[in-house]
Amino acid sequence: MHTNWIHLVWAMMAAASLTLGIVHLVVWFKQRTHHANLTFFALASSVAVFSGFELAMVGAQTPAEFALWLRWAHVPIAAIVVLIVVFVRLYFGVGRLWLAWAAVGSRLLAVLLNFTTGVNVNFQEVTGLQHSRFLGEVVSSPIGTLNAWQIVAQIANLLLVAFVVDASVTLWRLGDPVSRRRAAVVGGGILACVVLVIGFAVLILSGAVRAPTIMAPGFFIVVVAMGYELSWDLFVAQRTAAQLRYSEAELQSSGERFRAVVEAAPNAMLLVDVRGQVSLANAQAETLFGLSRDVLVGSTVERLVPERVRSSHEAYRRGFAAELRPRAMGFGRDTHALRRDGSEVPVEVFLTPMRGAEPSMILVSIIDISERRLNERRAATQRDEIAHLSRVAMLGELSGSLAHELNQPLAAILSNAQAAQRLLARDPPQIQAVTEILADIVASDRRAGAVIERLRSMLRKEDVKHALLDLNHVAEESLRLMHSDLLDRRVSVNTSFARNLPSVSGDRVQLQQVMLNLLINGCDAVAGRGREARLQVSSRVTERGSVAIAIADNGDGIAPQDIERIFEPFVTSKSHGIGLGLAICRSIIEAHGGRLWASNNASRGATMQFELPAEPAGSEHD
C-alpha cells in the first residue's frame, strides 16, 4: 500500500494545530479574560485551514484549479496575519498601534485585491503547472504572469515584520527575564518563520525558484512557538497557584502560631496599628484592663490610658509611628494603665513594630508592675524606718553635744534677763540698754527654738520629703550640731566649701543624718591623734556635674580589704554602736540617686565622700 507522506504530514500539522488551539480555547473558557488564548485558538485553526488549502494547491491538476485554491488560501493567510498582530499586541502588551493597523489594513486590502484582480493577488493568470517530486510525491508549482497588485501583499508582509520587530525590541528592552524570553521565543519564532515562509513563497511565485510553495510547516512552527510560550505561562500560573496555596497555608498557620504565642505570653499583649486601633488582645490583657476581648479589639489604645495623659499619649504614638523601632515606652514619670473601674495600674510597656505588615502594626507588651512597686515602697519604708532608728541611736551618742547646743542660748537668755533686771532697778532705769538686751533675748530664744526643731525633725519619724537643698548648708548645719562634740573630742575641723554649688534634690533630715554619721566616724578615726586630730570637710562639683561632699580625716586610714566591707551592715571597728551607720548612709545616698564611698588619703587617714546628682540650674531652694 502506498503511503502519501504529504497528505499524512499536512494532516498531522493541521490536527496538531487544532489540538493545541482547542487546549487554549478550553483555557479561555475557564479564564475569559485570557484573550491571548482565544486568539491563539483562532490562529491555530487558521493554520489548520491553510494546511488544507495548501494540500489542495500542491495536488492541483490544472492551472485554473491551482489559481482557485491559491485565491482561497489568502483568506486563512490574512486571518493568520491579523491574528499574529492581535496575539503580539495582547501577549506582549507593547507594539505600535499604527503599525498594527497598517499591517492589518494592508493585508485586508490584499485580500480584497485577491478577489477582484487577476486569478488571485499573486497571478494575473496561471498558464501552466510544473510538476516536481517532494517527499516522494509529485507536487504542482504554478507558472504564469504575476498580478501587479502583488506589491500590496508584499507591503503587508513588510508591515507585519516591522510591527513584530518593533514590538519584540520594545519587549526585550523591558529587561526582565520573562519579557526577554517572550521577545526571543515568540517574536524571534514569528519573524524567522514569517520571513522564511513569505520570502520563499515570493521567490517561488515570482518564478525565480522552481519549487512547490510550502508554507504550512512555517506557520506550524509559529503555532508551536506560541503554544510553547502559552503553555509555559500555564505552567508558571499553576506553579504560582501551588506556591500561593502553600504560602496561604503557611501564612494561616503562622498567624495561628502568632496568636497562640500571644495568648500564651505571661504579659498582657495588644496588637495595635499606627492609628492606635487594637486588633488583637490576649487573656492577660483582658485581666489587666478589666475589659473583654470584644471591647478591647476595635477600640483605640488611648481609651486604655488615664485621661490626664491621653493627649500626650496620642502625640507619643504619632512619634513612634514616624520612627518604628522596638523600645520601652516612656512618657511622663510613670506609665499607668486605666482599668475599666477607673483605677490605675502601674505598668511597664514595650513596643515592637511588626515588620512587613501593612499598615504597620505594633505589638504592645504590657507588664503589670504594681507588685514590684509595692515591694519597692515596702523596701523604701523599711529603709526609712531603719534610718530613723539609727538616727535616734546616733542622736543618743550626740546627746551631750545637743544639750550643749540648747543650753548655750538658754544661758545667754538668763544672763541677759538678769542683766536687764539690774539695769531696770537703777535710778534712772537704763531703758536703751534693756531694749538691746530684749532683742538679743529674742534672737537667742529663736536659736534655741531652731535647735529644738532640728532635734525634733531628726527624732520624728516622718515621711521622706524631697526638696531642693544646698549641700553646703546641710554640711554647715551638721557641723553646728556637732560643734560641742568636736570641741569635747578635741577635733579641729577645716572647711572648704565650693561657692555657687548647684542644688540637689533630697531629704534634709536624711542627708544631715549622713553628714553627722560621717563626722562622727571621722572623729572616731582621729580619736588617737591627740592634738593633731583634724577633719577636713569640703564640697565640690565633680567633672560629671554632680555635687560631692568629702570628709577627710588624718587618722590611721582603712585597711584595703575593708574599704568596701565597712559599708556592710554589722561590720564595725568600734566598741560602741551596732555597725549600721555606714550601711544606712549608703542606702540613703543610693536612694537619692547618688553614691557613697571611702578611699585612703595619699598622706594619711581616709576620706569618706558622697555625691548626688545636681538639679538643673534655675530651680529654687526651698
Binding site: 551631750g400 544639750a403 550643749h404 543650753n407 548655750q408 542660748p409 538658754l410 544661758a411 545667754a412 537668755i413 538668763l414 544672763s415 541677759n416 538678769q418 542683766a419 533686771q421 539690774r422 539695769l423 537703777r426 540698754a433 538686751i437 538679743d440 534672737a443 537667742s444 536659736r447 560641742s484 570641741l487 569635747d488 578635741r490 579641729s492
Partner: protein, 209 residues
C-alpha cells in the same frame, strides 16, 4: 565693795554668751573685758592688774583647762571662775585641784556668778597682798649679807646665840653683832617678829642646799 581698778576677764567663744556676761557683770558694777578665745586673752591681758577670769570650759583651740595650766606656769595671780555647759565632774575636779576659784554650770544664776566673781576678786586681792608683802620681805632679805642671812635662818629656826656661834665657828659676840645688824635691816624689833617674817618669806625651815 570692789577696788575700782579690778577687771573681770570673760573668755567665751559664743558671742551671744560673751555679750550677755559682759552686760550682767557690767550691770553688777564690775569693769569687764571680753575675749572670744584663750589665745587672744593670753596675748592681751594685763597680769599685774587686779582681777579675775570667767572662763568657758569648752573652747576651740586651747581649752579652759589648758589656759589654766598656761596661766599657772606664768605664775599668774588671776583666779579662774569656770563656766561649763554641763556638769562635767571629771573636768571640774581637775580644775579645782589646779586651784580654780569656782566651777559653775550654765545657765548660771546672776547672784551665784557675782558671788563667785566677788570671791575670786577677794582671793586675787589676798594673793596680791601676800605677794606684795613677800616681795617686800624679799627686798629686805636681799639687803642682808651672806653671813647675816645665815644667822637669820638659824634664829628663825629658834637657835640660841651660843649655838649659832658654835655652828658658824665663831664667838657669841660676833653673832650678837650680826643679829643686831640684820634686825635693823629687816626692821624687826623682837625675835617673834623675825620668825613671822621668815614664815612669810617662805623660809624658816632648814634650807635644802
Amino acid at each position: 565693795m570692789t577696788e575700782p581698778s579690778a577687771t573681770v576677764y570673760v573668755v567665751d567663744d559664743e558671742p551671744d554668751m560673751l555679750k550677755a556676761l559682759e552686760r550682767l557683770l557690767g550691770a553688777a558694777g564690775f569693769s569687764v573685758q571680753t575675749f572670744p578665745s584663750p589665745e587672744q586673752f593670753l596675748a592681751r591681758h594685763d597680769d599685774t592688774a587686779p582681777g579675775c577670769i570667767v572662763l568657758d570650759l569648752a573652747l576651740p583651740g586651747l581649752n579652759g583647762l589648758e589656759l589654766q595650766h598656761a596661766l599657772q606656769a606664768q605664775g599668774s595671780a588671776l583666779p579662774i571662775v569656770f563656766l561649763t555647759g554641763r556638769g562635767d565632774i571629771a573636768a571640774s575636779v581637775r580644775a579645782m585641784k589646779l586651784g580654780a576659784a569656782d566651777f559653775l554650770t550654765k545657765p548660771v544664776d546672776a547672784d551665784e556668778l557675782i558671788a563667785a566673781v566677788d570671791a575670786a576678786l577677794e582671793r586675787n586681792r589676798e594673793r596680791r597682798a601676800e605677794r606684795a608683802e613677800k616681795h617686800l620681805v624679799a627686798i629686805r632679805l636681799a639687803a642682808l649679807t651672806a653671813r647675816e642671812r645665815e644667822v637669820f635662818e638659824l634664829i628663825a629656826q629658834g637657835r640660841l646665840n651660843k649655838q649659832i656661834a658654835a655652828e658658824c665657828g665663831t664667838v657669841e659676840k660676833t653673832i650678837k653683832f650680826h643679829r643686831a645688824n640684820l634686825m635693823r635691816k629687816l626692821g624687826v624689833r623682837t625675835v617673834a617678829d623675825l620668825v613671822r617674817l621668815a614664815e612669810r618669806a617662805g623660809s624658816g625651815k632648814p634650807r635644802s642646799d
